[in-house]
């Protein structure tokens, strides 16, 4: 791609959501300015971009700038941002559609994020395990999960550096205000590779199966500003509640009802304050480490704050 063509593609991409515009059309305009009128390419780009802004009735800030910002993947929490990344290609997945050239997971120190490259963008193929600098990728959001899309304007530079990939861990603190259904003693589908939780003995994928018992808690931690969905797996649930799987089975057996386990757990944990650390998967934080907060609060500093008002 010529430099001029790259700029044209970038502009076309920026306005594709707002006005009917093709790369060819932008390229023609740029060419005219650069070749006929001897305008420097930077100035020509600026001028063409402004003409599209006017045509679309937009302000400069409404569109993504050509000057994308370097971010770490865990910071990405807005749709349609233009960003630069320094990442390792953690793994490639099989594309589910012919229009997708590559799909997989990119990672940096902060964590991992899904990426997609489309056939139409005609980009070079990325290799698993290799580290890259990717400029001009666009963020995308689906049901609260973020990914990045490589596009025609993306530049890919191999780098010789070893990037340590983080695990997206974050820490939240707050009161445990709800234990949701699907908590306590549950049954999972025993089929190979399927761990779905059964509803009334049925797996959504495999129908009626003889499930395997497991423990888990789906809880809501609320800090008075925001709420967080947290999942405690079997080990974490046992540590949190002091109830092991065998004891839970016995409780359920004695009561002829599995729901007594969740009830018992509710009594032990609802209304207490916890600090929980772990990776985010979709809307959930998976509790790797947690701690009940007891009296760690600093009343004195809040009192100072109050008296200063």
């Amino acid at each position: 791609m010529t430099e001029l063509r790259t700029h044209a593609a970038e502009i076309a991409e920026q306005f594709s959501d707002h006005v009917d515009v093709t790369e060819d059309e932008v390229e023609t305009k740029l060419q005219q300015l650069v070749e006929e009128y001897q305008v420097p390419l930077d100035e020509a780009t600026r001028s063409v971009r402004n003409s599209y802004l006017d045509a679309a009735g937009l302000e400069r800030d409404d569109i993504s700038g050509g000057d994308s910002e370097r971010v770490v993947v865990n910071e990405i929490e807005q749709d349609e941002q233009w960003v630069d990344l320094r990442v390792k290609l953690v793994e490639l997945w099989d594309p589910r559609s012919d229009s997708i050239s590559q799909v997989g997971l990119l990672g940096d120190e902060s964590g991992t994020i899904k990426f997609v490259a489309f056939e139409t963008s005609e980009l070079e193929q990325l290799e698993e395990g290799q580290c890259y600098e990717l400029s001009n990728v666009v963020t995308d959001e689906y049901e609260g999960d973020y990914s990045v899309k490589l596009n025609r304007t993306t530049t890919i530079t191999e780098i010789d550096e070893a990037i340590e990939v983080g695990d997206n861990s974050e820490t939240i603190e707050g009161a445990l205000v709800d234990v949701q259904s699907g908590s306590g003693l549950i049954k999972r589908c025993p089929e190979e590779g399927c761990t779905r939780v059964l509803q009334n003995g049925r797996c959504a994928e495999h129908g009626e199966v003889d499930g395997e018992f497991d423990l888990r808690i789906k809880a809501v931690i609320d800090d008075g500003v925001a709420t967080h969905d947290v999942i405690f797996n079997r080990e974490a649930t046992a540590e949190l509640t002091g109830i092991e799987l065998e004891e839970a089975k016995q409780l359920a057996k004695d009561a002829l009802d599995t729901s007594v386990v969740a009830d018992e757990m509710r009594t032990d944990i609802l209304g207490r304050y916890y600090s929980v650390t772990g990776p985010s998967v979709g809307q959930y934080l998976l509790a790797d480490e947690f701690e009940q907060q007891t009296g760690s609060v600093d009343a004195e500093s809040v009192l100072v704050k109050a008296r200063s008002i």
Binding site: E77, A175, V177, D178, V220, D222, G224, V225, A226, T227, G242, D263, E264, R266, T267, L270, G271, R272, Y273, Q293, T294, G295, S296, V297, D298, A299, V302, L303, K305, A306, R307, I309
Partner: protein, 219 residues
């Protein structure tokens, strides 16, 4: 934050508010005409509350129902008293109130409810989603957290675009700053109760089956 606000299924945050401020609130509103739209109680410091989280001392329980059981609990914080009501539609909370022996520290997650008395006053109460017995440390943490959140609200009253602060000054007058006194009262109470905490027998035992109040387990 506007991201989650636009998400219609997102869970309502449990506001932290002292009893003194909670009981001064009376104005409720909806954000849309939809029948199922959440009802918010307008807090005097300028925030909407569809859910609250309260930790305090349960000092009294009483079945005030006529035909069916309808339990009322008084939950005291350093600034006043919350009233919680639980009946047949809150069976777990109702049975907790039935079983608990006051005084006890409890944590309540619930919805604000208002009702008008015959004299035309508006009383505010909490309809619990859950009530659990907790320890003194959890109560202390709540007092400090609630103080902090209340100060944050007072701090934000003059922020441009704080529509709930504007609404609060229309409904209740420009009195938000007065709740700084409530906060100080709450925090100062901690210093004076610290020495008493050693004497709380039942709150110290935790972590084994004996801590669960099960009447049938008693000889």
């Amino acid at each position: 934050m506007s991201e989650s606000d636009s998400d219609s299924v997102s869970r309502e945050v449990a506001q932290r508010v002292f009893a003194a401020e909670f009981n001064d609130a009376s104005y409720t509103f909806k954000e849309s005409d939809d029948d199922r739209a959440p009802v918010y109680l307008l807090l005097p410091t300028g925030e909407r509350a569809n859910r609250v989280f309260v930790v305090g001392t349960l000092t009294e329980t009483e079945d005030v129902g006529e035909d069916d059981e309808y339990w009322r609990g008084r939950i005291v914080d350093p600034t006043g008293t919350f009233f919680v009501y639980a009946g047949q539609y809150q069976p777990e909370a109702a049975s907790t109130l039935r079983d608990l022996e006051p005084p006890a520290y409890v944590a309540v997650v619930g919805k604000p409810r208002t009702y008008e008395t015959d004299e035309g006053d508006v009383n505010v109460s909490v309809r619990p989603e859950s009530i659990t017995e907790v320890d003194a440390a959890t109560r202390d943490q709540w007092v400090v957290e609630t103080a902090d959140r209340t100060l944050d609200r007072i701090d934000a009253v003059d922020d441009a675009g704080n529509e709930y602060a504007r609404m609060a000054s229309e409904e209740y007058g420009d009195d938000a700053a007065a709740y700084t006194e409530t906060v100080i009262e709450g925090l100062e109470s901690l210093e004076s109760t610290d020495e008493l905490d050693g004497g709380e027998g039942p709150d110290q035992s935790e972590g084994d089956g004996n801590a669960v109040p099960d009447p049938e387990a008693q000889p």
